[in-house]
Symmetry: C2
Subunit: 121 residues, 2 copies
DNA sequence: CGATATATATCACTCAACGACCTATCGGCG
DNA sequence: CGCCGATAGGTCGTTGAGTGATATATATCG
C-alpha cells in the first residue's frame, strides 16, 4: 500500500513545491526542471497526480477557466513538503556518495593498476 | 528496447564501480551505499544484473568457489562507467535544483504571504 | 537438529510508466 | 474556411521493473 516515491512522482512534488500548478503546467515544469530530459505523458502525469493526492501529498486547489480552457490546480500539502524534503536529503546523500565512488575510480581505469584482486577466470 | 536507468539499476552499477562483485555482494554493497534504505531482493537483483549485462554495462568476470559456495563475479564495462557517470551528473543537477526549490520555500510556508495567486475556487 | 547467513536462481503477481487515443478550445497559417 | 500545433483535460491497454515467495545448497552457530 505504501506510496512509492519514484523519480517521476518526486519531480511532480518538486514542481508543485515551486508553486501551485495545474496538470499541464506540472508537465512543463518537470520538463524544465530536468532540462528536457524527463517528459511526462498524460497517462503518467494524471496517474501520479491521483496517487500523490490519495497519499495526502497534494490537494486540489480550485479550478480556473483561462482562455476557455479549464485549469485544475494542485497544491502541495505539508506532508508532501516533508516527503519531498526527506527524499531530497536522500538523493543528495546518494549523489554525494556516487561522486566519491567515481572520483576514486577515474574514467578508463580497469581495476587497480597495482594488482588485480584474486584474478579469477 | 532502451535500457531504463532506474534507481535500483543505478545503485547496482555504482556498487560494481567500486569493485567487481558477485551478486550477493552487490546486494550488500547497495544496502551499504544507501545506509540500509534500499535492499535488493533476489528477484530484483538478478533481474537487474541480467539487464545491465545485456545492455553491455557489465560483464561476467569469472567464477570462484569460496567455502564451497559459488560466486559469480561481474565487472563494470567502460560503457557502464560512462552511463553511471552520466546518470550521476544528472542526479547531482537534480539534487542541486531540488535544494534551490526547497531553500526558496521554507517548511510550513503556505504560498506567498503577500498575496494569493488569483485565488480561484 | 534447526536457525541464520551466504549464494544462486526462477516464478507469478502487481502496479507504475508509457504510448496511443479521445475531447475541446484558441491562435496562426494558407 | 480548414488544418495544425499548443494548451488542457482524461482514459485505456500494454509492458516491464520490482517484489515476495519459493527452491537449492553449503557453512556456521547454538
Amino acid at each position: 500500500m505504501a506510496f512509492r516515491m519514484t523519480e517521476q512522482s518526486y519531480l511532480v512534488l518538486l514542481a508543485l513545491a515551486q508553486q501551485p500548478r495545474h496538470g499541464y503546467g506540472v508537465a512543463q515544469a518537470v520538463k524544465d526542471l530536468t532540462d528536457g530530459a524527463v517528459r511526462l505523458g498524460a497517462g503518467t502525469l494524471y496517474g501520479i497526480l491521483d496517487r500523490i493526492v490519495a497519499e495526502g501529498y497534494a490537494e486540489a486547489s480550485g479550478e480556473q477557466v483561462v482562455d476557455g480552457r479549464l485549469r485544475r490546480y494542485y497544491r502541495l500539502t505539508d506532508a508532501g513538503g516533508d516527503a519531498l524534503a526527506a527524499e531530497t536529503t536522500r538523493l543528495q546523500a546518494l549523489a554525494r556518495r556516487a561522486h566519491q565512488v567515481l572520483r576514486a575510480r577515474p574514467a578508463g581505469q580497469l581495476g587497480f593498476t597495482g594488482r588485480t584482486v584474486a584474478s579469477a577466470v
